[in-house]
Amino acid sequence: MEHDNKIDRTLSRLMNDPLSIVSILFLCTVFINIRFIAVPLFQNTFIKNPFFPEYFTALKMGFPYLFLGVLVFIRSKIAYFIGVLISFFLMIHPIIFAKADIVITFYLFLWLFVKGKNHSIFLGRLLISFIFFGAAVGKLTPEWMSGEQLNTIVHLRKIPSVSLVIIGEFLVAISFLLPFYIASLISIFILIGMTMSMHNGTVIMATLPILGMILTFLSIVSLKKSELRLYFHEDEKKSNFVRLFFEIFKINNITLIKFKKDNIGKNAKGILVKKGYIIQGQNEDGEFLYGFDCYAEIISRLAMLAFLFPLFKLKNHKFIST
């Protein structure tokens, strides 16, 4: 019984924490990356290079790298600081040689470490822009502009136009200056495009953590803290599945109420409460919500899924004015 409670508590904590998105996506990155670099990471199979101090190259970085996947779930400054140190050591270790995904890991932990209680979304966006700034500015060379260098990237599925690559990276580079929702949408679109354009998920280890950060920012901004009451249909066969979902995850700020005949009829404002819905919501102002609007309000209270709220509100075009 106690064991079940522990599982419930863990699931509940995950669902109520917007940082879970970036943590889960980063954990996926670690597992994908291990597939490529497991042998050198765990066995230190590389050629001796006098450039690196000897004591430094003796360090095996396999377990520290796996440990990053654990650290990202620990909500503590010390854990994040250790994450910054490990990712920095990985970055300068001869086994990694500043692979793009490890550089991004470093910035992810740096943001987690400095973000504070207000989450410093602007700083997070600036770091993402900075990563792409280096890439975009660096490509303004005659070799890149002529397309000569793009043709040499072996992982591409199909050679895109040079201007598309540079404009795409440049847009993410300036995204911290653009309105939040528009910048997020553009960045997500470009990151997915980058991932799709490469074979075997070659860049997915670099794009997933950035995507996780953007979705986390969206969730933090969209998350509502006001109470929502959910009324379930009295027919348990109809409402059992959704009820189970909320009971397992114990979402903050959502009160579950079984539909009673008293609730069906007229609400406080005298509007007819519709009988056909499995769940109906009632917000803090006593306003009843049905269908799409109800699901949008539910989503906005699930920290892990709140990033979808702007999409739900797109139907009413309300998100642009927020």
Binding site: K77, I96, A100, V114, L123, L127, F130, G138, E143, I153
Partner: protein
């Protein structure tokens, strides 16, 4: 923590200025390792995905030479132990960025790397 946050903003500004004012250090010297280890380590957090043009000519000691374009050519050399099962392999690395160009020769002999600037 406020000061750490300011330091991060400062870091971003410094790296941006370096990329614009000292591009050779960021886009060339970093890849050919023509700077000290500490300076090199401090430059590693700068993201320059596929910006520099790096061409690695690999010669396997049997008069065969193949050229490869690489994002991080040194990464390839250092981790190539599992690729070339030979006692001696020589490399010629060319890194180019705008007007800057460095050619460097490496020899791998008995699991150790030896370098010489041209």
């Amino acid at each position: 923590m406020k000061y750490v946050r300011i330091a991060v903003y400062f870091m971003v500004v410094v790296y941006t200025l370096l990329a614009v004012l000292k591009p050779k250090k960021i886009y060339v010297d970093r890849f050919t390792q023509d700077i000290g280890f500490i300076e090199w380590a401090l430059l590693q957090p700068f993201p320059s995905m596929y910006s520099s043009q790096s061409i690695l000519k690999v010669s396997d000691g049997r008069d065969r030479s193949v050229s490869y374009p690489y994002h991080h050519p040194m990464d390839h050399i250092i981790n190539s132990k599992n690729i070339f099962f030979l006692d001696s392999v020589s490399y010629e690395l060319t890194v180019r960025y705008r007007g800057h160009k460095t050619v460097k020769r490496f020899i791998v002999f008995k699991d150790s790397l030896y370098t010489s600037l041209e």
